[in-house]
Symmetry: D2
Subunit: 338 residues, 4 copies
């Protein structure tokens, strides 16, 4: 329920109402604006009837939130949210490119790749220390050592670091070493992990699961916001379909759908989304064209030797070319390459 | 099998070779170029061994076609094909927009819509006279009367007409009244219809089936080319997935995949591809950005009264706005709005 | 709309009411029963109001049909339909097995296979003369010659013949030579073909499309019934999913769903449904267990030499074993192997 | 790599070979049999060449494991594995039914349900204390209190308890209170959780993810076995497809596929697999018919009041009827209702 207060309502009156909402067992929300204040009440809305809000002297209008998600919905929060990712803005008028290797492999590899992606125009660095791999016999990431390398290189180049967290027990370590958490597709509905990240205030890049509908993704984001962390960045990375020409089917339709339903920023990962190096550039441009807020791109200083996902990683010069060619698409979409 | 002849090979020598290919039960193809001539041999390539082509005095090199489709593949025909759709080019450097209502409903409706789409910048007119509908109790199209209306309005506005054909028995009538055939998603593997269209020389807009892989679409196109009609225009229009936010999942990944595998032009239909009016503009821009050769868009002079697909048809003013906004995306993709 | 008449209603009164229904532009249906007569009215039900049926002296009750399909729905026709397939019953208490090769290849092949499937216990013979193949370069069937072979062998062994029809122009020929039409998955929404088959009275085995929901299949069947042919036998044969271990995903859930929504018999084709010989027997048993009315199974006298689908065809001895093992499952499901 | 030793090989010789395998950085496996001993070597098999096993005096034959999973594959372990679930056997000749409510709600609810499922013939009790729910505002389970209730009722009725674990941090608690872990579809690729469960020796019921291919499920199981826990029971519970008549599409094809690729037992969950109460019985019978080793079924003493998944829970009398009707299908499949 959204409760729009009249312009003359005082802060005290609002707080009194919030206290009564809380007393009914609902979760109160306080959202002051420049012209008028909006209150929220999350939970079983039927109990609100006893407050008689319709005739309440300071209430202008009461509005149900129809979406199953509340905090995440655009009904609740009509303006685009801009998330601060270690000093780099994501969302609103910005188009932000985060690039780097699939996995942190060594200090040299991260330095060479960071240099390349910075030269190309990326504003943040990605790289996984904990790698969820289909096979137990594949490289699983460097773990804590990888986090330390990422931190060092991130500072050296002034690029905020984004890295995946796969387990509640690692949240503290990742929070210490990185500027933003990434939740992978396989963990999108690891609700315990989402709750733990909701306790942090660092941004969370939440990737859509391979069998998740757009509304499932928004419900997963709601878990994080409901715990108090508003800094969620969504990410489309491909869904499972019958098509075998691509590893996944990047679903760009999700971008305008999400933009209409939620105020959260949404990135596109054309590397995992297609699984094919040659498709990264065209799909990156298409993502910019249909309104995405940025990209998550795999770049490796030497893809042929990459320990994971080499087939979909761009060569440094390919990344530089993509960034040059991307610029007019971003402008035509009314955004600015951050 | 592709057989590249030496520059000095004469036409007579080529014809003699073609005759020997035919004598082996293979299908011979003659593809003269400016610098050298290329021959093709379709069928069981093992029987070719008896020709000893490797050491043949006029043969420069012999190359297997790896793709299951031959005439459609880029291996066979490395340059982009440009199809002439009633005077309007489709493919290559051109970006072509075909617009109009889902169904021909009346002379007035077609005139009003044709005026609007022409003003907006469309170069060809679409409109169905035979409508494949899920329910036998839904409007099934005006049939021959609809074809006549389409022809009249098409001539009046100088916009070539594209209309769906659903049955071998209607091919002659549609050929008489329209400038191009359209084969709908449900008929993509109606192989008898494809063969019949291969006997014509009018262009065929072949839509991808809802459960068809990219390679299935290319094999369907091969049916038409194999009968002798090279004028095929492919069209991506959404596939079936688990996502319910959109009616279909428009698969833009297919565009760069098809561009790499085939020389045929590929359009995108964001109207059927998403089923939602608000998604047509963003997905149209994304289609331009990732390399499509044009769009097939549903526009209705009065969508609220449309007899079919009103929910996804653009209002005339929405179409005009889309065309204005589309222009920089087309340019950035290196194409020209035809 | 279903209109249940009172027991005392005479035939004349019913006919008068049907005439008034027709006069309103609706399609009247006459369904006499042992205890009382039921009338149907298909079309825009709002116009029925002018008949004031609620207070009509011979009308007991009026009931809307909620399903989008009418003639096909169990609401309209609560009892199981039993279709007569050239003397062999399909549906109701019967479990009917139709077997044979994918394609008619020669008289010898059909004879050898017919002998084997009859010995195993099949009651009807399948075999395609017109083969819809993904590639134009694959074997496309023997056509009319194949029909003649099928007819001859069918008569010789006393097994009714089922064969695919792919085109309106072939309906007459297939009707002449076969006891039942088969509509393949790729033609499930070839509505013109469905209408043409609705003009016949021979049974139609209608296979589910690879991207068709259960309700799409039932709507396709409605096309045939709406034209006057009530002899439709549905067939589940696998849908497109992301799973690659099987060629298609046989969706047995569809069997009980269809049983609850429609009165038509439903067969299962585990050969196409899985694409793997080793899966035919277990999935055939599962089909019997969940309520299917029979099976469509590919058997070839020599699968290694089959011109199509050899990988999924059973050897004669495998078919015999399957039929033996199937029997207790059919009994446990409350049916009788016909 | 599988290394089959000659009958006369001694244990000392085998151990010496295992030590050399380990020294090469591969993982050695010791699998003594009644007639001869088999050794395994997991990892990069190329390094094994230096051992010259082909000519080794105690080696009979060396065989590569082609599947990407090793310990899980039938190549490695040709006989069916029977897992001991708190005294109840799962796999091999047994057909085992585990039943209970979706969530533990109260002591009374568990007692009433346990009584009903035991009367019906279930041999183990299910019930979730930690519920992964799509919405953060839905009932999330009773947590530790729920585990305690489950334990008490499980002991009272002598039914081993199976319950879901969603987080590494809960593994110890669940191990203390339950006889088997359940890993839900959303956690199938929570690899850290799988590793933690691999450290236990209690059975793990591993459910297939909604977008997981059969091979992804087997690779997930490999994570658990690779850590040393051989007691894995697989479970098919429906995949995501375009069909909307059912909540998920229960993929029974997976049963015979898994049986051919792996020695692990496989259960079917028709409750989640279809999401519809009326489909549970027919799909349970179909599961038995195609070779499943048992069922996981939701039964609630009062489905109308269930806090989750009431729509798919059986009433006690429905469960009793199902168990009675199931029996001949289990027998026909060559198994015994345990």
């Amino acid at each position: 329920m959204i409760i729009v207060l009249k312009p003359q309502a005082t802060k005290e009156q609002a707080e009194e109402l919030l206290a009564r909402i809380a007393a009914l067992g609902l979760r109160p929300l306080y959202m002051p604006g420049t012209e008028r204040t909006v209150l929220g009440a999350l939970g079983d809305e039927r109990v609100l009837e006893s407050l008689h809000l319709d005739g309440h002297p300071i209430v202008e209008r009461v509005q149900a939130i129809l979406a199953p998600y509340k905090l995440v919905s655009r009904e609740m929060h009509p303006h685009d949210t801009v998330v601060d990712l270690g000093g780099v803005p994501v969302g609103g008028p910005h188009f932000t490119v985060i690039a780097g290797p699939c996995a942190v492999e060594s200090l040299d590899q991260m330095r060479d790749t960071a240099r390349a992606v910075q030269a190309g125009g990326a504003r943040a660095l990605r790289g996984g220390a904990y790698k969820p791999r289909t096979s137990p016999y594949s490289f699983q990431g460097l773990g804590r050592e990888g986090l330390a390398i990422l931190r060092e290189v991130s500072r050296e180049f002034g690029l905020p670091a984004v890295t995946e967290v796969v387990e509640v027990g690692d949240v503290a370590a990742v929070e210490e070493f990185a500027d933003a958490f990434q939740v992978g597709a396989r963990n999108m509905q690891n609700f315990r992990l989402l709750r733990a990240l909701g306790q942090s205030r660092k941004p969370v890049v939440l990737k859509r699961g391979m069998a998740a509908r757009v509304d499932d993704l928004l419900m997963a984001a709601e878990y994080i916001l409901a715990e108090g962390n508003p800094n969620v960045i969504l990410c489309e990375r491909g869904i499972q379909t019958f098509e075998t020409a691509t590893r996944n089917t990047l679903d760009l339709n999700a971008i305008p759908v999400i933009k209409s339903r939620s105020h959260l920023p949404i990135l596109v990962d054309p590397s995992h989304g297609t699984g094919l190096r040659d498709l990264v550039a065209p799909m990156a441009k298409a993502a910019a064209a249909c309104g995405a807020d940025g990209l998550l791109i795999e770049v490796h200083c030497d893809p042929a030797t990459a320990l994971s996902d080499g087939k979909q990683s761009l060569f440094p010069e390919q990344f530089a070319t993509l960034m040059r060619e991307l610029s007019p698409f971003v402008s035509a979409a009314g955004k600015t390459l951050t």
